[in-house]
Amino acid sequence: MFSGFDFNVIERSWRYLFFDGMEFTLRLTLFAMAGGVVFGTLLAMMRLSSIKPLAWIAGTYVNVLRSVPLVLVIFWFYFLVPYMGAWVVRSDTPIHVGAFASCLLTFTMFEACYYCEIMRAGIQSISRGQVSAGYAIGLNYWQTMGQIVLPQAFRNMVPILLTQTIVLFQDVSLVYVLSITDFVGAASKVAQRDGRLVEMYTFVALIYFISCFALSLLVRKLQARIAVVR
């Protein structure tokens, strides 16, 4: 059935695929997750703030970014960031921003919207009584958030945050529109060079399937464990 296919192409190129391509994908996923969770948590705190302008700004930000396709955002940032950078440092020429930095900024800003909504639900799942108890022993807003609310909210939301990270891991492949060598980008370069499109894309799909499936099993295990601890 596979006669006519040449799977040796994988053997020839796997180092490039994993050490260049997958390395970029994983690095971007992990950094964007960290940045996205931190920024998303700040956005969630703003959205839940009693200071109306803060809540409005965060709400608008989240709703606008969530209603724009990710590919567009990637394009936009890639071409706009050099100009925004120039404006920030008051330079006349657009500053050079590397592909990784630009992608990291894009994904952090974009994924933060989704992490924000998860953390918002997480924060709201903590009872008012816990917040009152924090204030009652003399903690201020930031201490109550940092010591009481966020640790519990985060713990409740870990499975959903990880599930969102699996989505992020897949979304990262969209950077191919910028001809960046992520896992998919690397594979498609090899595929076109060697004329082995079917083999390469099948392999890529398989790798994505295996890693995402393994991750989701892990999430499920974690969920069960957290449920016991609580």
Binding site: A133, A136, I137, G138, L139, Q143, Q147, I148, Q152
Partner: protein, 242 residues
Amino acid sequence: MIEIKDISKWYGTFQVLTQCSTRVSKGEVVVVCGPSGSGKSTLIKCVNGLEPFQKGEIRVDGISVGDPKTNLPKLRARIGMVFQNFELFPHMTVSQNLTLAQVKVLGRSQEAALAKGMALLDRVGLKAQADKHPGNLSGGQQQRVAIARALCMDPIAMLFDEPTSALDPEMINEVLDVMVQLAQEGMTMMCVTHEMGFARRVAHRVIFMDHGSIVEDATKDDFFGKPRSERAQQFLSKILHH
């Protein structure tokens, strides 16, 4: 110690508190009772600024609670509060619950905070539970830890909001015993509770609330002897025949 002057509070257009005034002197134990929804919790939460109020003034140790210039966290650190649902921090061990605010708010060292926490835990009879999480304790034990947590801050007054009403009957006394002891040591206390046995034993005054107003504010003997208002009489007879 606690002076409440003409407090009124609204949730939207709904008036929860109507011109409530009372005072709790140093070393005095005041019990607040009244039917459900009469505003007892709201009133006691106004005392440490957990709930804002629109009219009137509350002073604790001379400091105005409603004044925007008041450092509320600092004031609250000096007022202990015990909640109906304990509200221990479930992600921390008992000893972490006890030391958190001592270290973060009072700036005590970890060792000093732990020593203080252990001493108070011992006092409520739970020294052996220090390393457990609150979820592994019974309701009565949790509430005693919550009292110890408040006492760790060396409070000048203690507020209790129905500390025993979420407890199984057999656990009520272990909590009340701690409160009685506290009262006998001269702690200033404002307790929302329906435990009239507790009120009889240690209260100096009893306040009866209904529909957001303080209907009766009498010495213990007057209150139990001859409550003036009919509503308080009805309430008492209902509660005492339980």
